[in-house]
Every structure is written in C-alpha cells, then in structure tokens.
C-alpha cells in the first residue's frame, strides 16, 4: 500500500545515492517538484533514465547529481539545446556524464518490457541507423518463427520511478489523464515509486472504466504537491509554461546564471512554492 508522505520524507526514503532513477512524463506531468527535492537532498551518482530529458534533467545534470543518463531525445522542445546537458557531454562540466542513447521506440518498448517483467524488449528498429554502433546495449535477435532479425534492448528496471499525476485518493490510488506517456510502464517497471499529485480527494471517481489508474498496492509513496509539474503542465489544472521553457534557454546557457537560478529556486525554495503555479491558473480559469 502506498504511504501518503511529505515530499522530503518520500525522497529521503526512496531515492538513494547511486540509484537508477526514472522521472517520467512525456512533456506533460513532469515531476519538477520531486526532482528539485532530490537536488535539495544532495543525492549523487544517480543514473538517470528518461525518454526526453527536458529541463528537469538539465537541472540535475547541471548540479552534478548524475553519473550517467539513458535517454532518447535530449533537447528543450521547440527551443533548442539543453545547455547543461551539452556542457556535461562536450566539456565534462561539472562532471563527466556517461550516456546510453536510444530511440523513443526502443525506450518505450524497454519500459514496457520492464513492466512486463521481461529481461529485454524487441522492436523493428534502428534499421540503417548508427546508434547500434555506439551503444553496445542495442543488439539483435532472430525471430524463431520467421527468421526476421529484430532489434533488442534491455528492459528498463529503475530502482525508483518518480511521476506526477492529477490526483490520488486517501488510500493512495492514483489517476492520470491526458498525454500519459510511459508513466504507467515506468512505475510498474520500478522497484519503488513516488507519485506527486495535484490533489488528494476522498473519492477517485475515474471518469471511465478504462482510465489510467495506478492502484495503491503498485505505488510506494504518494505526495500532495499542487503545481508540482510546473513549468510542464497538468491537464485540467494548469497549462505548460512555454514562456518558461523559452526563458530557460538564457538561464541555462551560462554556468553562473544557472547556479544562481538553482540557489534561488531550488536550494532556497520549498515544495509548497510550486502551489502558486496551480493556484494562479485556477484563479484565471
């Protein structure tokens, strides 16, 4: 059964130095507040997993919390580069970053294989592409029935997966809506999981029998953090701050401005500070 905890407790209990950590959310519902708590608690040597590293992993890489990263698209969507990620790969600042690079299709399949408790995933992928030449974790397998050669990648099995969702009930059952990405697979593939939510309600009332629900017995910790996905968004609660994504380009381009931003907005901030992003939008709506 999931325990309903504070963010500090949930991260302290479930994220350890050296862990393989997946923070998922495909543009939508990215667990920013939880990621910031990981930075505040000074976790180090993490191996980060995420399809689209986005600004959150730019921040974790920039503060030196990561020893490596497995990913499939490392940019600021629609804006350009992740400058902290580039600085780590191109100049080893603030520390070298080991990378394991895949395609989206392979990552999605690898999460699904993890959720299905399989050792690897296969796909008709990487044909004619160079990634298999530089990533030894991309191999091939021959279909025993047809002889077709398919790509194979190891299942993703994080020590801990962290996601953000719209709401949970008091028992810790979680509901996700909108662009649901790979969050269900990422939680089910992991040993432990933390879900931050916009609201904790008495009755979950899933809108459809086919809604995406993670039952309390499949989740480790649930944390109430309204606004916790900002500057990404929570469908039905507040929109994506495209303006912040654009502004991040300048903030992250320079090491000094990045460090100053982290101090002011992460190290000297609290999870409750995220609530204003949710509240402001609710007022506007």
């Amino acid at each position: 059964m999931a325990r309903i905890l504070s963010l500090a407790e949930a991260v302290a209990e479930n994220v350890k130095d050296g862990d393989t950590v997946a923070m998922e959310g495909f543009t939508h519902l990215i667990p920013y507040a939880a990621g910031h708590e990981v930075i505040r608690q000074g976790r180090k040597d993490l191996f980060l997993v995420r399809m689209t590293p986005d600004i959150l992993y730019d921040q974790l890489i920039g503060v030196g919390a990561a020893r490596g990263m497995k990913f499939s698209w490392g940019g600021n969507p629609g804006v350009g580069s992740l400058h902290r990620f580039r600085d780590a790969v191109e100049n080893q600042w603030p520390r070298p970053l080991e990378i394991e690079e895949h395609s989206h299709a392979a990552m999605a399949n690898a999460y699904e294989a993890g959720a299905a408790n399989l050792p690897f995933a296969m796909l008709r992928g990487y044909i004619g592409a160079d990634l298999p030449k530089v990533n030894p974790n991309i191999k091939s397998i021959t279909c025993p029935f047809t002889g077709e050669v398919l790509a194979a990648v190891p299942a993703i099995r994080p020590d801990v997966t962290i996601i953000h969702a719209q709401r949970a009930d008091r028992k810790g059952n979680v509901l996700l809506e909108g662009i649901v990405g790979v969050q269900k697979e990422a939680v089910l593939a992991a040993r432990r999981s933390i879900v931050t939510v916009e609201e904790i309600v008495d009755e979950l009332n899933p809108p459809s029998p086919n809604s995406v629900v993670l039952p309390t017995w499949a989740v480790t910790a649930v944390v109430h953090v309204p606004g916790g996905a900002f500057p990404s968004y929570a469908h039905g609660y507040y929109p994506r701050s495209n303006a912040f994504y654009i502004a991040w380009d300048e903030i992250a381009r320079d090491r000094e401005t990045f460090n100053a931003w982290i101090k002011e907005n992460v190290l000297d901030a609290k999870p409750e500070d995220f609530a204003r992003h949710a509240a402001k939008s609710a007022k506007a709506a």
Binding site: P77, G78, A129, G181, N242, F274
Partner: protein
Amino acid sequence: MTDFTPTEMMTIAASRELSNDDVCFVGIGAPSAACNIARLTHAPDITLIYESGTVGTKPDVLPLSIGDGELCDTALFTVSVPEMFRYWLQGGRITTGFLGGAQIDRFANLNTTVVGPYDHPKVRLPGGGGAPEIASNCGRIFITMALSKRGFVEKLPFITSMGHGEGGDHRERLGMKTQGPTRVITDLCILEPDPETKELTVVSIHHGVTREEIVENCGWAIKFADTVIETPVPTETELSVLRDINARTKRAHQGTDKEAA
C-alpha cells in the same frame, strides 16, 4: 502573391505534399507548421499524429513541444507512448512521416545526434527521438529543412535515421518495405530521389531563385532533373492561413508567465 519569404514558401510548398487521405506522423518545428497549414487549407480531413500519443489532433496554435496540452485537447483520442510506437507506427498504420533535421546528405539520411565524433562531440545535438523508426516504418517520408552548406553536407558525421542509405536499393537490401524519403522541401527548391540512384535531385525551383543559388547553398555537387518546374507561388489563402497561425502561436507561447519554477 509574390510578397513572401523563403521560409513561408518552404512551409507552404511542404503543406501541398499532403492530402486528406494521409495519416501523418508529425515532427516538431517546420514539419508541424506545414502539416497544420495543409489541414487548414486543402486537406481538412488529414489525420495528424504526434509522438506524444495524440491522434487526429487539430491544434489552433502550433505546439512548441511535441506534447503541448493543445494537441491532446483537440485530438480524436490519445494513447500511451508505447502504444503509439508499437501499434500505430510499427504496426504500419502511418502513411506519411514528416521530418526535419539538422543535417542531411545526398541520399536523404538525417543527422540530429552529433557534430564531430560521437564520443567527443563538437556539438551535442538532441538526438533521434522518434526519427529512426519513423523513417523506417512510415509508408513514405517527407523532409523539410532550409537549404544551406551546413545542413546539406557531403558526408554525415552520424546517421540518426536512414533515408536511402548508400543509395540504389539499399533500403530493400536491409529488408525495408517502405518507400523512405520521397520529397525534400527546402526554402529554395524541392528535391526528389532519382528513381535509380536515389540521389536527391532538384525537380522544382521556387519563384525568383536561381540555379546558382541552389548550387552555392548545397554541400555536395547537386544535380538537377531533366525537367525542372517553377514551384507555384503561395496563394493569398495559403499565406494568410500561415501568417494567422504563426501570429496566434507567437502570442500563445510568449504569454506573461516568465517567473521561475
């Protein structure tokens, strides 16, 4: 209309490649603009799919990211990312993939991964995302990117997604049954692979552009087809639809919400 920019011409020329019957996997940026202009002009029933899982989406403003809420709000339905890549893309349900890229070679292979050696890159680019499997699993591929010596190169440092590989029947030899890139739409001209060699060849030149400009802006010795036509200039409708959506998009993305997270 003759009062238009090369980028507007590129987007509009790219939009004309699409029809109502297309089920199109849309890349972000220039492809997204072209696909939505098609939907708002001559192809209102086109199915646009973004890799975030949104199917049959009809955004009012162009998304900044591949997963903006606008895409989900206006979609016929939204699936998980594994379902998107497994059932819909790998399942062979997508007729057309529309991609951009940082670099392309004469056989329409694309690089969005690195400039320089992979282990010690001069420039680390975002990477492939969905492109490697979009390029192999969609029925055919359109590519749109501005023509420049930096972008259209003799040799790619890294092949992120395969177009026609080494040319000729390379795709078939690797077991691919899809067509691969069939059109490349730039801001100066439109290219098509030669039917035999698969080398990209100029088939249409935009109004006011000279052959010399095209040669000067391409990193390889570019060839021209025997018959080269002039790309029809944008219509007033095409231009006003494009300018309107760009203006709406700019207003929507700038917003006022620049405060820190």
